[in-house]
Amino acid sequence: MEFKGLSFSYDQGRAFMEELEGRIEKHKITTIIGPNGCGKSTLLSLLARGQKQTAGAITLDGKDIHSYKAKDFARKIAMVNQTNHISEDMTVQELIQFGRIPYKKIWKQDNEEDTDAIEWALACTKLHDFKDTPVSALSGGQRQRVWIALALAQKTEILFLDEPTTYLDIYHQLELLSLIKELNTVHGITIVMVLHDMNQALRYSDLVIVMKDGAIKAYGRPEQVITQEKIKEIYDVHIVVNEDDETGLYIVPLSI
């Protein structure tokens, strides 16, 4: 997946993003980091067709993403939003079944392929025991897994996650990130996610995009991109980057 000359502005106002260029490598985990309001989520949303760029092109498998039919595109890229809301008494299984909508007419019954995909999504996210539980009765961590399962049921090659760990405690953050890692290593799903935590970005990504003020400031392997100088430049925060046999690279923020 590639993007070129990508510009975006809200309501015909001043350009928020100008001339962004980059690529998403297949079968890798790419993480987008950057300060608040830098355009991380907007970039993700543009790549997922959530919004339309004002200029430039995004191509997926050599085809402009806006030339895909809506359903075809939903078979290529699935998205897990930052905030998800469901106020009803829907069960986990009923919710995950929506992931099959890109594959069929809505009043058709699930066929074998659909059932398999749903089973697989349940298995990946370890939600089998909860499939008949109402979503509203689940904990935050479980609920986030349900939304991932819904995206997995779409059986896409690419999975986008917008700040998937934001509302979770440290245990569930780790649980979720290892799930994401597993989806990538075991099932070869290309992952693009927005994260806030630099240590998580270091540990779980193959490639990192660093953004600031609507521009891409750095792109590369985590250890190349998350350095003392770069972080000072972008976040205006002093950090130290240490390496440890047990933990690998990690950062400690020192002062502002």
Binding site: A48, G50, K69, A70, K71, D72, F73, A74, R75, A78, M79, N81, N84, H85, I86, S87, E88, D89, M90, E94, F98, G99, I101, P102, I106, W107, Q154
Partner: protein, 327 residues
């Protein structure tokens, strides 16, 4: 046996019960045996009168209730608003005004009254969408807009009636809502149109389920959400208009029934829609039957009874406010 099946059995039994009771009781009262025999053999004078006069009224009441309840379910789903109801939102008032308008100026076609009702309902619905879209169809805003739309069309209707009175044109009773004096002609109109509408509602019930998700999620699943919204809205307006053009404005039925039905059978629209239809039919026929019998030979219109029950119910819903996010 689970709660859903029990709820279905109870509502079906209640529906049969009230239908028989309603048929047997009134200014002419007969026993159940006489009624059944008379209907089967057609040799009882009293029963023949009942079949001619009371049966159409019962059928129209049943259909009206079912239609209004289903229309309420659709409106609540498509606007994601538990307070949406054709009556409250002024859809019925729009339909009613346009029906009268059609009767006055194009009285030749009987079907045209339904067509005009549909136009009026669509205009109301459109105004509500226009005025509350930007705020994300916030429940309270939709309701307030609806009250304004409703007041406007009710006023226009009154004005039209007054003008007609001045020119000595009679346009029927000023009380818009009425289930009395229904004939087999009304039945022939409301049965096919109502059933088509309810069938269409069942057909779009998977979409109603889908709309429980956020808009952006629906779009991410490759669904054209605007098209889905328009189709469901059109069906909901069609249903409300059919009911209004034949039975007048009955407020709150589309609010109370879906709400109670959700408590009983859950929010899956495959089940919710048929259940609401049955429960709505029961409610309106019950209201009409008691309205007819309570102070006989005088009558209380079903719509009046519904307003009396529905008002407190709406207050009750508003009291639970925080659950309805934004009310």
């Amino acid at each position: 046996m689970n709660k859903k099946i029990i709820s279905f059995i109870i509502v079906i039994m209640a529906l049969i019960g009230i239908t028989v009771y309603s048929a047997a009781k009134g200014s002419i009262s007969v026993s159940l045996m006489t009624l059944v025999n008379g209907v089967l053999h057609g040799n009882n004078e009293e029963v023949n009168v009942i079949v001619d006069l009371r049966f159409p009224r019962i059928i129209v009441a049943l259909l009206t209730g079912a239609i209004l309840a289903v229309s309420g379910v659709l409106f609540q789903s498509v606007m994601r608003n538990p307070l949406a109801d054709a009556g409250i939102m002024g859809i019925s008032a729009g339909a009613s005004f346009f029906t009268l308008f059609g009767l006055l100026f194009l009285p030749t076609l009987f079907i045209s009254s339904t067509l005009f009702a549909f136009l009026g309902g669509a205009v109301s619905c459109f105004i509500i969408y226009m005025l509350s879209w930007k705020s994300g169809l916030k429940p309270l805003r939709v309701i307030l807009t609806g009250i304004a739309v409703s007041a406007m069309f009710t006023g226009l209707r009154e004005a039209l009636i007054n003008i007609c009175a001045y020119f000595n044109i009679t346009v029927g009773a000023s009380n818009a809502s009425n289930l009395t004096m229904k004939t087999w002609e009304d039945v022939e109109l409301i049965v096919p149109l109502g059933l088509i509408g309810i069938l269409l509602a069942l057909l779009v019930s998977p979409w109603c389920n889908l709309l429980k998700l956020q808009d952006k999620k629906v779009v991410q699943l490759g669904v054209n959400i605007q098209l889905v919204r328009i189709i469901i809205s059109v069906i909901a307006v069609f249903l409300a208009s059919v009911a209004t053009s034949i039975a007048g404005i009955i407020i709150f039925a589309g609010l109370i029934i879906p709400h109670i039905s959700r408590q009983l059978v859950g929010t899956n629209h495959h089940i919710l829609i048929p259940f609401s239809a049955l429960a709505g039919a029961f409610l309106i026929l019950t209201a009409d039957t008691f309205g007819r019998l309570l102070i006989a030979p005088l009558e209380i219109p079903a719509s009046t009874i519904m307003a009396v029950i529905g008002g407190p119910f709406l207050i009750f819903l508003l009291r639970k406010g925080d659950k309805l996010n934004g009310v």
